[in-house]
Protein backbone atom coordinates (compact mmCIF):
# COMPACT_ATOMS: atom_id res chain seq x y z
CA UNK A 1 0.00 0.00 0.00
CA UNK A 2 2.66 2.46 1.10
CA UNK A 3 4.81 1.34 -1.80
CA UNK A 4 1.95 1.82 -4.23
CA UNK A 5 1.26 5.42 -3.17
CA UNK A 6 4.95 6.20 -3.32
CA UNK A 7 5.20 4.82 -6.84
CA UNK A 8 2.19 6.88 -7.81
CA UNK A 9 3.77 10.00 -6.37
CA UNK A 10 7.01 9.43 -8.22
CA UNK A 11 5.13 8.81 -11.47
CA UNK A 12 3.13 11.98 -10.94
CA UNK A 13 6.22 14.07 -10.22
CA UNK A 14 7.89 12.79 -13.36
CA UNK A 15 4.80 13.31 -15.51
CA UNK A 16 4.80 16.92 -14.36
CA UNK A 17 8.53 17.17 -15.06
CA UNK A 18 8.08 15.84 -18.57
CA UNK A 19 5.23 18.29 -19.18
CA UNK A 20 7.53 21.06 -18.04
CA UNK A 21 10.45 20.26 -20.34
CA UNK A 22 8.45 19.24 -23.40
CA UNK A 23 8.06 22.78 -24.75
CA UNK A 24 11.81 23.31 -24.51
CA UNK A 25 12.74 20.01 -26.07
CA UNK A 26 10.25 20.60 -28.84
CA UNK A 27 11.75 24.01 -29.52
CA UNK A 28 15.25 22.55 -29.47
CA UNK A 29 14.21 19.80 -31.90
CA UNK A 30 12.80 22.32 -34.34
CA UNK A 31 15.77 24.65 -34.06
CA UNK A 32 18.41 21.99 -34.66
CA UNK A 33 16.75 20.23 -37.60
CA UNK A 34 15.99 21.26 -41.19
CA UNK A 35 12.57 22.84 -41.70
CA UNK A 36 11.16 19.64 -43.24
CA UNK A 37 11.54 17.92 -39.90
CA UNK A 38 10.14 20.79 -37.84
CA UNK A 39 7.01 18.92 -36.90
CA UNK A 40 7.67 15.32 -37.55
CA UNK A 41 9.88 13.28 -35.36
CA UNK A 42 12.40 11.02 -36.93
CA UNK A 43 15.48 10.03 -35.00
CA UNK A 44 17.46 9.75 -38.21
CA UNK A 45 16.75 13.36 -39.14
CA UNK A 46 19.99 15.22 -39.86
CA UNK A 47 21.13 17.79 -37.30
CA UNK A 48 21.90 21.27 -38.51
CA UNK A 49 22.97 24.67 -37.27
CA UNK A 50 21.62 26.28 -40.42
CA UNK A 51 18.58 27.74 -38.70
CA UNK A 52 20.79 29.61 -36.26
CA UNK A 53 22.97 30.93 -39.05
CA UNK A 54 19.96 32.12 -41.03
CA UNK A 55 18.36 33.72 -37.98
CA UNK A 56 21.60 35.48 -37.08
CA UNK A 57 21.86 36.88 -40.60
CA UNK A 58 18.20 37.83 -40.91
CA UNK A 59 18.20 40.40 -38.10
CA UNK A 60 20.81 42.50 -36.26
CA UNK A 61 21.03 40.11 -33.34
CA UNK A 62 24.65 41.01 -32.64
CA UNK A 63 23.54 44.57 -32.00
CA UNK A 64 20.63 43.39 -29.84
CA UNK A 65 23.01 41.29 -27.75
CA UNK A 66 25.24 44.32 -27.32
CA UNK A 67 22.29 46.52 -26.33
CA UNK A 68 21.06 44.03 -23.74
CA UNK A 69 24.55 43.61 -22.33
CA UNK A 70 24.98 47.37 -21.98
CA UNK A 71 21.52 47.67 -20.42
CA UNK A 72 22.06 44.92 -17.88
CA UNK A 73 25.48 46.26 -16.95
CA UNK A 74 24.25 49.82 -16.41
CA UNK A 75 21.40 48.59 -14.24
CA UNK A 76 23.52 46.23 -12.18
CA UNK A 77 26.33 48.69 -11.46
CA UNK A 78 23.96 51.56 -10.70
CA UNK A 79 21.76 49.45 -8.46
CA UNK A 80 24.76 48.31 -6.42
CA UNK A 81 26.13 51.83 -6.09
CA UNK A 82 22.79 53.38 -5.19
CA UNK A 83 21.28 50.69 -2.99
CA UNK A 84 24.35 50.01 -0.84
CA UNK A 85 24.56 53.40 0.92
CA UNK A 86 20.78 53.67 1.22
CA UNK A 87 20.53 50.19 2.69
CA UNK A 88 23.31 51.00 5.16
CA UNK A 89 21.58 54.15 6.34
CA UNK A 90 18.32 52.30 6.86
CA UNK A 91 20.05 49.42 8.62
CA UNK A 92 22.54 51.12 10.92
CA UNK A 93 21.80 54.82 11.33
CA UNK A 94 19.35 56.71 13.46
CA UNK A 95 17.82 59.75 11.83
CA UNK A 96 14.51 61.57 11.92
CA UNK A 97 12.14 60.43 9.19
CA UNK A 98 13.86 57.08 8.71
CA UNK A 99 10.80 54.91 9.09
CA UNK A 100 8.65 57.10 6.88
CA UNK A 101 11.33 57.13 4.18
CA UNK A 102 11.68 53.37 4.39
CA UNK A 103 7.92 53.05 3.99
CA UNK A 104 8.13 55.25 0.90
CA UNK A 105 10.80 52.94 -0.48
CA UNK A 106 8.83 49.78 0.26
CA UNK A 107 5.81 51.09 -1.67
CA UNK A 108 7.71 50.20 -4.82
CA UNK A 109 7.49 46.51 -3.96
CA UNK A 110 3.77 46.69 -4.73
CA UNK A 111 3.69 49.34 -7.46
CA UNK A 112 6.50 48.50 -9.81
CA UNK A 113 7.65 50.74 -12.66
CA UNK A 114 6.41 48.04 -15.05
CA UNK A 115 2.82 49.22 -14.68
CA UNK A 116 3.62 52.93 -14.93
CA UNK A 117 4.30 52.91 -18.66
CA UNK A 118 2.32 56.05 -19.44
CA UNK A 119 3.78 58.24 -16.71
CA UNK A 120 7.35 57.15 -17.25
CA UNK A 121 7.09 57.53 -21.01
CA UNK A 122 6.08 61.13 -20.55
CA UNK A 123 8.98 61.80 -18.19
CA UNK A 124 11.39 60.29 -20.73
CA UNK A 125 9.88 62.42 -23.48
CA UNK A 126 10.36 65.54 -21.35
CA UNK A 127 13.96 64.55 -20.64
CA UNK A 128 14.50 63.89 -24.34
CA UNK A 129 15.50 60.32 -23.60
CA UNK A 130 12.96 58.39 -25.67
CA UNK A 131 14.65 55.62 -27.64
CA UNK A 132 17.82 55.44 -25.55
CA UNK A 133 19.21 52.57 -23.54
CA UNK A 134 19.45 54.86 -20.51
CA UNK A 135 15.69 55.37 -20.66
CA UNK A 136 15.11 51.62 -20.43
CA UNK A 137 17.33 51.45 -17.36
CA UNK A 138 16.36 54.62 -15.44
CA UNK A 139 13.10 53.47 -13.82
CA UNK A 140 14.83 50.45 -12.31
CA UNK A 141 17.95 52.06 -10.86
CA UNK A 142 16.52 53.03 -7.48
CA UNK A 143 15.42 49.58 -6.46
CA UNK A 144 13.30 49.04 -3.36
CA UNK A 145 13.96 45.34 -3.60
CA UNK A 146 17.72 45.87 -3.56
CA UNK A 147 17.58 48.32 -0.66
CA UNK A 148 15.37 45.97 1.31
CA UNK A 149 17.50 42.91 0.67
CA UNK A 150 20.78 44.64 1.55
CA UNK A 151 19.29 46.27 4.63
CA UNK A 152 18.29 42.86 5.97
CA UNK A 153 21.80 41.59 5.39
CA UNK A 154 23.55 44.65 6.84
CA UNK A 155 21.48 44.37 10.00
CA UNK A 156 22.92 40.91 10.64
CA UNK A 157 26.52 42.16 10.46
CA UNK A 158 28.00 42.03 14.00
CA UNK A 159 28.06 45.54 15.46
CA UNK A 160 31.47 44.83 17.08
CA UNK A 161 33.15 44.65 13.68
CA UNK A 162 31.73 48.01 12.77
CA UNK A 163 32.79 49.50 16.13
CA UNK A 164 36.31 48.14 15.72
CA UNK A 165 36.60 49.75 12.31
CA UNK A 166 35.28 53.00 13.73
CA UNK A 167 37.86 52.93 16.55
CA UNK A 168 40.59 52.51 13.99
CA UNK A 169 39.42 55.79 12.53
CA UNK A 170 37.71 54.49 9.43
CA UNK A 171 35.42 56.95 7.72
CA UNK A 172 31.80 56.07 7.07
CA UNK A 173 32.37 55.15 3.43
CA UNK A 174 35.38 53.06 4.36
CA UNK A 175 33.40 51.19 6.98
CA UNK A 176 30.69 50.36 4.46
CA UNK A 177 33.22 49.32 1.86
CA UNK A 178 35.55 47.36 4.16
CA UNK A 179 33.15 45.79 6.67
CA UNK A 180 29.65 45.59 5.29
CA UNK A 181 30.10 44.98 1.57
CA UNK A 182 32.47 41.99 1.93
CA UNK A 183 30.23 40.35 4.52
CA UNK A 184 27.19 40.79 2.30
CA UNK A 185 28.78 39.12 -0.71
CA UNK A 186 26.28 36.25 -0.96
CA UNK A 187 23.46 38.79 -0.97
CA UNK A 188 25.15 40.79 -3.73
CA UNK A 189 25.52 37.65 -5.82
CA UNK A 190 21.91 36.68 -5.20
CA UNK A 191 20.61 40.14 -5.99
CA UNK A 192 22.86 40.40 -9.04
CA UNK A 193 21.60 37.15 -10.52
CA UNK A 194 17.98 38.06 -9.91
CA UNK A 195 18.49 41.52 -11.36
CA UNK A 196 20.35 40.33 -14.44
CA UNK A 197 17.82 37.65 -15.26
CA UNK A 198 14.95 40.05 -14.69
CA UNK A 199 16.31 42.71 -17.00
CA UNK A 200 17.66 40.32 -19.62
CA UNK A 201 14.08 39.09 -19.92
CA UNK A 202 12.15 42.32 -19.44
CA UNK A 203 9.94 43.24 -22.36
CA UNK A 204 7.02 45.64 -22.11
CA UNK A 205 8.79 48.82 -20.99
CA UNK A 206 11.67 48.38 -23.49
CA UNK A 207 9.07 47.73 -26.19
CA UNK A 208 7.36 51.01 -25.40
CA UNK A 209 10.42 53.22 -25.00
CA UNK A 210 12.59 51.99 -27.90
CA UNK A 211 12.00 52.06 -31.63
CA UNK A 212 15.30 51.54 -33.34
CA UNK A 213 17.90 48.86 -33.85
CA UNK A 214 20.57 50.70 -31.89
CA UNK A 215 18.57 50.69 -28.65
CA UNK A 216 16.35 47.62 -28.76
CA UNK A 217 17.23 44.89 -26.30
CA UNK A 218 17.12 41.23 -27.32
CA UNK A 219 13.58 40.58 -26.16
CA UNK A 220 12.14 43.41 -28.23
CA UNK A 221 14.38 42.55 -31.17
CA UNK A 222 13.17 38.97 -31.02
CA UNK A 223 9.53 40.01 -31.02
CA UNK A 224 10.03 42.34 -33.98
CA UNK A 225 11.88 39.58 -35.80
CA UNK A 226 9.26 36.93 -35.06
CA UNK A 227 6.27 39.08 -35.92
CA UNK A 228 7.32 40.82 -39.10
CA UNK A 229 10.32 39.37 -40.81
CA UNK A 230 9.71 35.69 -40.91
CA UNK A 231 6.09 34.90 -41.56
CA UNK A 232 5.80 31.48 -40.00
CA UNK A 233 9.14 29.84 -40.53
CA UNK A 234 9.18 28.10 -37.18
CA UNK A 235 12.65 26.63 -37.59
CA UNK A 236 14.20 30.08 -37.76
CA UNK A 237 11.96 31.57 -35.09
CA UNK A 238 12.71 28.83 -32.55
CA UNK A 239 16.41 29.08 -33.39
CA UNK A 240 16.30 32.83 -32.73
CA UNK A 241 14.30 32.24 -29.56
CA UNK A 242 16.81 29.73 -28.19
CA UNK A 243 19.68 31.94 -29.23
CA UNK A 244 18.39 34.91 -27.26
CA UNK A 245 17.71 32.80 -24.18
CA UNK A 246 20.95 30.85 -24.47
CA UNK A 247 23.32 32.96 -22.35
CA UNK A 248 21.07 32.92 -19.30
CA UNK A 249 20.04 29.33 -19.85
CA UNK A 250 23.64 28.14 -20.18
CA UNK A 251 24.69 30.15 -17.15
CA UNK A 252 21.83 28.60 -15.23
CA UNK A 253 22.67 25.05 -16.29
CA UNK A 254 26.33 25.54 -15.36
CA UNK A 255 25.75 27.28 -12.04
CA UNK A 256 22.45 25.72 -11.17
CA UNK A 257 23.12 25.49 -7.47
CA UNK A 258 24.18 29.11 -7.22
CA UNK A 259 21.14 30.28 -9.12
CA UNK A 260 18.65 28.29 -7.10
CA UNK A 261 20.24 29.36 -3.82
CA UNK A 262 20.32 32.98 -4.95
CA UNK A 263 16.66 33.00 -5.85
CA UNK A 264 15.92 31.40 -2.48
CA UNK A 265 17.97 33.98 -0.63
CA UNK A 266 16.31 36.81 -2.51
CA UNK A 267 12.90 35.44 -1.64
CA UNK A 268 13.34 35.01 2.07
CA UNK A 269 12.28 38.29 3.50
Amino acid sequence: MKFATRTLEIAGAWMLGIMWVTPLLYAAWTAFHPADFATHFDLTAPLTLGNFVRAWQAAPFARYFLNTTILVTIILVAQFLLCTPAAFAFARMEFPGRDILFGVVLLQLMVMPDVLLVGNYRTMAQLGLVDTILAIALPYLGSAFGIFLLRQTFRSVPQELDDAARLEGCTLMRRIWRVYVPLARPTYIAYGLVSVSYHWNNFLWPLVITNSVTTRPLTVGLSVFASTDQGIDWSIITAATLMTSAPLLLAFLLFQRQFVQSFMRAGIR
Binding site: A13, W14, L16, G17, I18, V21, T22, P23, A27, T39, P85, A86, A89, E94, V104, V105, Q108, M110, V111, M112, P113, V115, L116, L117, V118, G119, Y121, R122, T123, L138, Y140, L141, G142, S143, A144, S197, W200, N201, F203, L204, V208, L218, T219, L222, S223, A226, I232, W234, I237, T238, T241, T244, S245, L248, Q256, V260, F263, M264, G267, R269
Partner: protein
Protein backbone atom coordinates in the same frame (compact mmCIF):
# COMPACT_ATOMS: atom_id res chain seq x y z
CA UNK B 1 23.68 67.50 19.50
CA UNK B 2 26.14 68.46 16.82
CA UNK B 3 27.11 64.83 16.22
CA UNK B 4 23.46 63.86 15.94
CA UNK B 5 22.85 66.56 13.36
CA UNK B 6 25.89 65.38 11.48
CA UNK B 7 24.67 61.78 11.43
CA UNK B 8 21.29 62.95 10.16
CA UNK B 9 22.88 64.84 7.30
CA UNK B 10 25.11 61.88 6.50
CA UNK B 11 22.18 59.47 6.52
CA UNK B 12 20.13 61.67 4.23
CA UNK B 13 23.05 61.98 1.84
CA UNK B 14 23.39 58.20 1.74
CA UNK B 15 19.71 57.66 1.10
CA UNK B 16 19.09 60.57 -1.24
CA UNK B 17 20.44 59.34 -4.62
CA UNK B 18 18.48 56.10 -4.56
CA UNK B 19 15.44 57.81 -3.10
CA UNK B 20 15.37 60.54 -5.76
CA UNK B 21 15.43 58.01 -8.59
CA UNK B 22 12.86 55.87 -6.87
CA UNK B 23 10.47 58.74 -6.35
CA UNK B 24 11.08 60.14 -9.83
CA UNK B 25 10.17 56.90 -11.60
CA UNK B 26 7.67 55.27 -9.26
CA UNK B 27 5.91 57.76 -7.02
CA UNK B 28 5.93 60.73 -9.34
CA UNK B 29 4.56 58.86 -12.39
CA UNK B 30 1.88 57.36 -10.15
CA UNK B 31 0.82 60.84 -8.99
CA UNK B 32 1.15 62.30 -12.48
CA UNK B 33 -1.03 59.49 -13.81
CA UNK B 34 -3.81 60.37 -11.40
CA UNK B 35 -3.58 64.04 -12.48
CA UNK B 36 -3.48 63.10 -16.17
CA UNK B 37 -6.64 61.08 -15.80
CA UNK B 38 -8.47 64.33 -14.99
CA UNK B 39 -7.39 66.02 -18.24
CA UNK B 40 -8.15 65.42 -21.90
CA UNK B 41 -5.58 64.00 -24.29
CA UNK B 42 -3.76 66.82 -26.10
CA UNK B 43 -4.33 66.45 -29.82
CA UNK B 44 -2.63 68.56 -32.46
CA UNK B 45 -3.36 72.21 -31.78
CA UNK B 46 -5.72 71.46 -28.90
CA UNK B 47 -3.85 71.31 -25.59
CA UNK B 48 -5.05 69.19 -22.69
CA UNK B 49 -7.81 70.77 -20.64
CA UNK B 50 -9.39 69.84 -17.33
CA UNK B 51 -12.31 67.47 -17.78
CA UNK B 52 -12.93 66.33 -14.20
CA UNK B 53 -14.15 62.77 -14.02
CA UNK B 54 -15.21 62.60 -17.68
CA UNK B 55 -12.51 60.05 -18.49
CA UNK B 56 -13.81 57.80 -15.75
CA UNK B 57 -17.35 58.15 -17.05
CA UNK B 58 -16.10 57.22 -20.52
CA UNK B 59 -14.33 54.24 -19.02
CA UNK B 60 -17.54 53.02 -17.40
CA UNK B 61 -19.17 53.11 -20.82
CA UNK B 62 -16.29 51.32 -22.51
CA UNK B 63 -17.23 47.66 -23.04
CA UNK B 64 -13.60 46.71 -23.74
CA UNK B 65 -12.61 47.99 -20.30
CA UNK B 66 -15.14 45.70 -18.64
CA UNK B 67 -14.01 42.81 -20.81
CA UNK B 68 -10.40 43.48 -19.81
CA UNK B 69 -11.36 43.63 -16.14
CA UNK B 70 -13.35 40.42 -16.42
CA UNK B 71 -10.56 38.66 -18.32
CA UNK B 72 -8.04 39.79 -15.74
CA UNK B 73 -10.22 38.49 -12.92
CA UNK B 74 -10.50 35.10 -14.62
CA UNK B 75 -6.78 35.12 -15.41
CA UNK B 76 -5.90 35.91 -11.78
CA UNK B 77 -8.41 33.43 -10.35
CA UNK B 78 -6.89 30.67 -12.49
CA UNK B 79 -3.16 31.44 -12.52
CA UNK B 80 -2.75 32.26 -8.83
CA UNK B 81 -4.10 29.05 -7.26
CA UNK B 82 -2.82 26.84 -10.09
CA UNK B 83 0.75 28.09 -9.93
CA UNK B 84 0.87 28.15 -6.12
CA UNK B 85 -0.53 24.61 -5.73
CA UNK B 86 1.72 23.25 -8.47
CA UNK B 87 4.69 25.02 -6.90
CA UNK B 88 3.96 23.38 -3.55
CA UNK B 89 3.53 19.96 -5.18
CA UNK B 90 6.82 20.39 -7.04
CA UNK B 91 8.65 21.44 -3.89
CA UNK B 92 7.27 18.49 -1.92
CA UNK B 93 8.29 16.17 -4.76
CA UNK B 94 11.89 17.31 -5.03
CA UNK B 95 12.28 17.63 -1.26
CA UNK B 96 12.07 13.83 -0.94
CA UNK B 97 14.66 11.31 -2.11
CA UNK B 98 13.02 10.86 -5.48
CA UNK B 99 14.95 9.16 -8.30
CA UNK B 100 16.53 11.73 -10.62
CA UNK B 101 15.92 14.57 -8.21
CA UNK B 102 18.40 17.13 -9.65
CA UNK B 103 17.06 16.53 -13.14
CA UNK B 104 13.49 16.97 -11.98
CA UNK B 105 14.27 20.15 -10.10
CA UNK B 106 15.97 21.50 -13.19
CA UNK B 107 12.97 20.60 -15.35
CA UNK B 108 10.64 22.52 -13.05
CA UNK B 109 12.84 25.56 -12.69
CA UNK B 110 14.11 26.08 -16.25
CA UNK B 111 11.08 28.01 -17.60
CA UNK B 112 11.83 30.67 -14.99
CA UNK B 113 15.09 31.50 -16.71
CA UNK B 114 13.49 32.07 -20.12
CA UNK B 115 12.26 35.47 -21.22
CA UNK B 116 8.46 35.51 -21.33
CA UNK B 117 8.82 36.56 -24.92
CA UNK B 118 10.75 33.39 -25.76
CA UNK B 119 8.20 31.32 -23.88
CA UNK B 120 5.46 32.97 -25.93
CA UNK B 121 7.21 32.10 -29.20
CA UNK B 122 7.61 28.48 -28.19
CA UNK B 123 4.01 28.14 -27.10
CA UNK B 124 2.78 29.95 -30.17
CA UNK B 125 4.30 27.13 -32.15
CA UNK B 126 2.61 24.64 -29.82
CA UNK B 127 -0.81 26.08 -30.40
CA UNK B 128 -0.44 26.33 -34.18
CA UNK B 129 -3.41 24.65 -35.88
CA UNK B 130 -2.71 21.35 -37.67
CA UNK B 131 0.97 20.86 -37.02
CA UNK B 132 1.50 22.32 -33.53
CA UNK B 133 1.96 19.91 -30.63
CA UNK B 134 -1.56 20.28 -29.30
CA UNK B 135 -3.19 19.43 -32.59
CA UNK B 136 -0.72 16.59 -33.12
CA UNK B 137 -1.76 15.08 -29.79
CA UNK B 138 -5.42 15.72 -30.55
CA UNK B 139 -4.96 13.96 -33.89
CA UNK B 140 -3.77 10.80 -32.09
CA UNK B 141 -7.08 10.75 -30.31
CA UNK B 142 -8.89 11.26 -33.55
CA UNK B 143 -9.81 14.87 -32.86
CA UNK B 144 -9.79 17.45 -35.62
CA UNK B 145 -7.81 20.66 -35.91
CA UNK B 146 -8.42 23.44 -33.52
CA UNK B 147 -7.39 27.06 -33.70
CA UNK B 148 -6.48 27.36 -30.02
CA UNK B 149 -5.56 31.04 -30.06
CA UNK B 150 -8.20 32.04 -32.60
CA UNK B 151 -11.13 30.72 -30.62
CA UNK B 152 -12.58 33.02 -27.93
CA UNK B 153 -13.27 29.98 -25.73
CA UNK B 154 -9.70 28.64 -25.66
CA UNK B 155 -7.53 31.75 -26.12
CA UNK B 156 -7.60 32.94 -22.50
CA UNK B 157 -7.07 29.42 -21.07
CA UNK B 158 -4.09 29.17 -23.41
CA UNK B 159 -2.65 32.39 -21.91
CA UNK B 160 -3.27 31.00 -18.43
CA UNK B 161 -1.45 27.76 -19.27
CA UNK B 162 1.58 29.70 -20.50
CA UNK B 163 1.70 31.85 -17.35
CA UNK B 164 1.38 28.86 -15.00
CA UNK B 165 4.08 26.98 -16.88
CA UNK B 166 6.40 29.94 -16.58
CA UNK B 167 5.73 30.76 -12.92
CA UNK B 168 5.23 27.54 -10.99
CA UNK B 169 8.92 26.58 -10.95
CA UNK B 170 9.87 30.01 -9.67
CA UNK B 171 7.51 29.75 -6.71
CA UNK B 172 8.67 26.19 -6.08
CA UNK B 173 12.06 27.58 -5.06
CA UNK B 174 10.56 29.48 -2.15
CA UNK B 175 8.62 26.48 -0.90
CA UNK B 176 11.73 24.38 -1.25
CA UNK B 177 13.71 26.86 0.84
CA UNK B 178 11.04 26.79 3.54
CA UNK B 179 10.78 22.99 3.53
CA UNK B 180 14.54 22.64 3.87
CA UNK B 181 14.55 25.06 6.79
CA UNK B 182 12.02 22.95 8.66
CA UNK B 183 13.46 21.02 11.62
CA UNK B 184 13.61 17.30 10.74
CA UNK B 185 12.75 16.17 14.29
CA UNK B 186 9.18 17.35 13.71
CA UNK B 187 8.65 14.64 11.13
CA UNK B 188 10.38 12.08 13.34
CA UNK B 189 8.17 12.92 16.29
CA UNK B 190 5.06 12.68 14.14
CA UNK B 191 6.27 9.35 12.82
CA UNK B 192 6.70 7.98 16.36
CA UNK B 193 3.23 9.07 17.27
CA UNK B 194 1.92 7.22 14.25
CA UNK B 195 0.42 10.27 12.62
CA UNK B 196 -0.41 9.70 8.96
CA UNK B 197 1.55 11.58 6.31
CA UNK B 198 -1.53 13.48 5.17
CA UNK B 199 -2.32 14.49 8.74
CA UNK B 200 1.24 15.63 9.28
CA UNK B 201 1.15 17.66 6.09
CA UNK B 202 -2.15 19.28 6.97
CA UNK B 203 -1.45 19.91 10.66
CA UNK B 204 2.26 20.72 10.68
CA UNK B 205 3.78 21.34 7.25
CA UNK B 206 1.07 23.53 5.80
CA UNK B 207 0.77 25.90 8.79
CA UNK B 208 4.55 26.22 8.96
CA UNK B 209 4.58 27.12 5.29
CA UNK B 210 2.05 29.92 5.76
CA UNK B 211 4.55 32.82 5.56
CA UNK B 212 5.94 31.36 2.34
CA UNK B 213 2.45 30.87 0.97
CA UNK B 214 1.64 34.49 1.73
CA UNK B 215 4.81 35.68 0.04
CA UNK B 216 4.15 33.53 -3.01
CA UNK B 217 0.50 34.58 -3.14
CA UNK B 218 1.45 38.25 -3.14
CA UNK B 219 3.93 37.72 -5.95
CA UNK B 220 1.51 35.62 -7.96
CA UNK B 221 -1.18 38.29 -7.55
CA UNK B 222 1.14 41.08 -8.68
CA UNK B 223 2.21 38.98 -11.65
CA UNK B 224 -1.41 38.37 -12.60
CA UNK B 225 -1.65 42.10 -13.31
CA UNK B 226 1.91 42.73 -14.44
CA UNK B 227 2.77 39.88 -16.79
CA UNK B 228 1.28 40.50 -20.23
CA UNK B 229 4.31 39.99 -22.47
CA UNK B 230 2.87 36.79 -23.89
CA UNK B 231 -0.40 38.52 -24.80
CA UNK B 232 1.51 41.08 -26.86
CA UNK B 233 3.24 38.34 -28.83
CA UNK B 234 0.65 35.58 -29.01
CA UNK B 235 -2.75 37.18 -29.46
CA UNK B 236 -2.52 40.98 -29.30
CA UNK B 237 -5.54 40.86 -27.03
CA UNK B 238 -7.66 39.00 -29.56
CA UNK B 239 -9.68 37.29 -30.78
CA UNK B 240 -12.41 39.84 -30.15
CA UNK B 241 -10.64 41.05 -26.94
CA UNK B 242 -10.88 37.57 -25.42
CA UNK B 243 -7.31 37.87 -24.06
CA UNK B 244 -7.17 41.61 -23.38
CA UNK B 245 -5.82 42.01 -19.85
CA UNK B 246 -5.77 45.31 -18.01
CA UNK B 247 -2.09 46.14 -18.54
CA UNK B 248 -2.29 45.05 -22.15
CA UNK B 249 -5.24 47.36 -22.65
CA UNK B 250 -3.21 50.19 -21.08
CA UNK B 251 -0.39 49.47 -23.51
CA UNK B 252 -2.76 49.35 -26.46
CA UNK B 253 -4.59 52.55 -25.47
CA UNK B 254 -1.44 54.47 -24.63
CA UNK B 255 0.98 53.30 -27.29
CA UNK B 256 -1.05 52.04 -30.21
CA UNK B 257 -4.00 54.44 -30.09
CA UNK B 258 -1.91 57.15 -28.38
CA UNK B 259 -4.77 58.17 -26.10
CA UNK B 260 -2.66 59.10 -23.08
CA UNK B 261 -5.52 60.33 -20.88
CA UNK B 262 -7.54 57.14 -21.21
CA UNK B 263 -4.37 55.12 -20.66
CA UNK B 264 -3.74 57.17 -17.51
CA UNK B 265 -7.30 56.57 -16.34
CA UNK B 266 -6.88 52.84 -16.89
CA UNK B 267 -3.57 52.94 -15.00
CA UNK B 268 -5.32 54.54 -12.02
CA UNK B 269 -7.72 51.57 -11.95
CA UNK B 270 -4.75 49.19 -12.02
CA UNK B 271 -3.01 51.15 -9.25
CA UNK B 272 -6.18 51.00 -7.17
CA UNK B 273 -6.28 47.23 -7.62
CA UNK B 274 -2.63 46.91 -6.60
CA UNK B 275 -3.31 49.17 -3.61
CA UNK B 276 -6.18 46.93 -2.57
CA UNK B 277 -3.85 43.98 -2.86
CA UNK B 278 -1.26 45.69 -0.63
CA UNK B 279 -3.92 46.48 1.92
CA UNK B 280 -5.11 42.88 1.89
CA UNK B 281 -1.55 41.66 2.34
CA UNK B 282 -0.44 43.86 5.19
CA UNK B 283 -3.75 44.72 6.79
CA UNK B 284 -5.76 41.54 6.74
CA UNK B 285 -3.58 38.55 5.93
CA UNK B 286 -0.48 39.98 7.60
CA UNK B 287 -2.13 39.87 11.00
CA UNK B 288 -3.16 36.26 10.64
CA UNK B 289 0.14 34.70 9.72
CA UNK B 290 3.29 34.73 11.71
CA UNK B 291 5.47 36.80 9.47
CA UNK B 292 9.13 37.73 9.65
Amino acid sequence: MATMRRETVQAWLLVLPALLLLVAFTHWPAVATVLDSLFSTPRGSRPAHFVGLDNYAALMDDPVFWTALHNNAVYAAATIPASVILALAMALAVNTAIPGRPLLRMAYFTPTMLPMIAVANIWLFFFTPDYGLFDSIAAWFGLGRHNWLGDTATALPAMIAVAVWKEAGFFMIFYLAALQAMPPDLAEAANLEGSSRWNFFRRVTLPLLMPTTLFVLVNASINAFRLVDHVVVMTRGGPDNATTLLLYYIYETGFRFWDSSMAATLTVVLLALLGLLAWLQFGVLGKRVHYR
